[in-house]
């Protein structure tokens, strides 16, 4: 670790993994509620469990991004953080706000939580992924702004590399598009239209910039390929991301009341969205093959390569599966969407965070890489988690296809619940695979505490 202030990233990473475990636990609860409907009812109804699951996902990914930024910006800008203290304050405020929100979801009925937190003042609650109370949303804005101030000042006073610039554009974009979550008109169509400006332009827009910057950083460190080549590829990839992703928002505007031309624009441009992910995979493998050094941290390399592949599979291929309007007409709002969601989030954003953590954590503990034994354990956790996500996605895709066949097609379609009963077997298989994923995650955490073998401190 070249700069002391990079240590600020450590609590972020630890909190990120902690929340990740919480997310998976609630995922397992929900998975079981799919097969045994009244599990934990009425203490934790499904909608509360889901809120916790999705909000923990987004918050832990944000913690991961902020941790990664605190780690790589000082190294990129070749200067200490503007204010490490501010970095830690931001961490604690964000953690407390997040924890309180989750506790609020679990302890108090949602309607009471809304009344308590001034939702009548400015109603922003009750929308998917944006269920946070108003005070939490305001808290997030404050946290993100102080974080951006701290990071931007660091970059301003230090070396400006393409990676830090791209990361800053991604983070500032993230902050700006989050502001749309405060816009909640009483016209549902307008509400949904701009809701996608937060959700889609995050995960298929600025988050891909953050993903690109983080992956480029890890690849430079792990492969030693010179910065010029990697940053060239980075710019081309994120150019393609925004070229296809911005108008690609159209694939959410097929059936929510917006005019029909969106079916053409949305289909055409979102059909091109897998291209940047394909380029990212070719880029990752290309860099690793042309590596100039044998970095002892094999696990981080595996995570970086895996990110490219799984992001292309999950976001690219599984996205393309149901992005064309004529197909989406039948698969919209079915388990196919859930299948894409799981693999895309895991492949693109979970894995790049884990790659960053598995690269940076040993550095912050004074060694270049963990011991061979620890790395083997980490690689086991990589395969366990990745393969189980692939199976979860396959099971949900099968469930989705059957659901479409039973409920959406033909002259005598089944009712929703009747169709759900027919696909129960896939939900059982998904739930079992979920436990395998949890095993992989526990193994990942354990690998950081594995004492066997001596840590490598090669230069």
């Amino acid at each position: 670790m070249q700069y002391q202030s990079q240590a600020v990233a450590k609590p972020y990473f630890i909190a990120a993994i902690g929340l990740f475990v919480g997310q998976i636990l609630f995922g397992l609860i929900m998975g079981y509620q799919y097969v045994v409907g009244d599990f934990l009812f009425p203490e934790i109804p499904f909608n509360v469990a889901r809120m916790v699951h999705t909000n923990l996902l987004i918050v832990w990914l944000l913690f991961g991004f902020m941790g990664a930024t605190h780690y790589l910006i000082p190294e990129e800008a070749e200067t200490e953080l503007f204010s490490p203290k501010l970095g830690l304050i931001t961490f604690w405020v964000f953690l407390v706000a997040g924890a309180l929100t989750i506790v609020g979801y679990l302890m108090v009925p949602y309607a009471t939580l809304a009344a308590m937190t001034g939702n009548d003042l400015l109603p922003t609650m009750g929308r998917e992924f944006l269920e946070q109370p108003l005070i939490t949303k305001v808290g997030i804005v404050i946290v993100v702004l102080t974080f951006l101030f701290n990071i931007s000042m660091t970059v301003l006073k230090g070396r400006k590399t393409s990676i830090s610039l791209v990361l800053l554009v991604g983070l500032w974009g993230l902050a700006i598009f989050f502001l749309f979550s405060f816009y909640n008109p009483s016209n549902l169509v307008l509400d949904k239209y701009f809701w996608w400006w937060t959700v889609h332009l995050w995960v298929e827009g600025v988050w891909e910039l953050i993903l690109g910057a983080m992956l480029a950083f890890v690849l430079i460190k792990v492969t030693g390929v010179d910065r010029e080549v990697i940053e060239k590829w980075l710019y081309v990839i994120i150019a393609m991301t925004l070229i296809t992703g911005i108008i690609g928002t159209g694939h959410h505007y097929f059936w929510i009341g917006t005019p029909e031309y969106w079916q053409w624009f949305g289909s055409v441009f979102s059909a091109l969205e897998p291209i940047p992910f394909f380029m990212m995979t070719v880029f990752a493998f290309n860099m690793v093959n042309r590596r100039r050094r044998e970095h002892p941290n094999k696990a981080a390399t595996l995570w970086a390569l895996g990110t490219g592949v799984m992001a292309f599979l999950g976001a690219g291929v599984w996205g393309f599966l149901h992005t064309l309007a004529p197909v989406n007409f039948f698969t919209h709002g079915t388990q196919i969407t859930a299948a894409h969601g799981h693999m895309a989030f895991y492949g693109a954003y979970v894995m790049v965070n884990l790659a960053m953590i598995s690269y940076a954590m040993p550095m912050m503990r004074g060694r270049t890489a963990n011991s061979a034994a620890a790395q083997t354990m980490e690689m086991w956790s990589f395969w366990l988690m990745t393969v189980s996500i692939v199976f979860i996605t396959l099971f949900l895709t099968a469930a989705g296809i059957l659901q479409v066949w039973l409920q959406r097609m033909g002259t005598t379609p089944m009712s929703f619940m009747a169709a759900q009963d027919q696909i129960m077997v896939f939900y059982w298989l998904r739930e079992i695979t979920g436990f395998v994923f949890l095993l992989g995650l526990v193994l990942y955490i354990w690998s950081f505490f594995c004492k066997k073998g001596e840590a490598q401190t090669a230069a």
Binding site: D38, F41, A114, L188, K232, Y235, G257, H332, R408
Partner: protein, 141 residues
């Protein structure tokens, strides 16, 4: 690749492409905003519909149901439930929850009064009348 592929050009294409397609996106958004009034019948948004949407949000219905296909996939699509079941059925169903049948998916009882139930039905009625390009494929939603 050698000097024939410069980072500066790639960066220009990134900024140029992003601005270009965001402008195009704003243009399409502008046109959509012009077309929407005739498609979503916003003139039918009464106070009751507004209150209904507020109830829909503060009970986090989106946590189990989908609305126009977006939301959670645990419970039926409600974008066209007014057409599928009709107002009275919806009110009776909400009041009669949870069913308590062991092993079945349960919906909490939100203890909505008569006014709130009418508002919810008004909101679901308005939602079912939005022109969603003939989605969902059939009445089952």
């Amino acid at each position: 690749m050698s000097e024939t592929f410069t980072k500066a050009m790639a960066r220009n294409i990134f900024y140029g492409g992003a601005v270009f397609f965001f402008l195009l996106f704003l243009g399409l958004t502008f046109d959509t905003m012009q077309q929407l009034p005739s498609r979503d019948h916003r003139e039918n948004i009464t106070d009751s519909v507004v209150r209904g949407k507020h109830i829909w949000e503060t009970r986090n219905c989106i946590g189990c149901h989908t609305l126009m296909g977006e939301g959670a996939y645990f419970a039926p699509e409600l974008g066209n439930v007014y057409v599928r079941r009709g107002g009275p059925f919806i009110k009776a169903w909400i009041q009669s929850q949870p069913t308590g049948v062991p092993g079945r998916r349960q919906m909490p009882n939100f203890n909505l009064n008569e006014q709130e139930l009418d508002d919810m039905v008004a909101f679901l009625k308005w939602t079912s009348e939005v022109n969603t390009n003939k989605w969902p494929p059939n009445i089952e939603g």
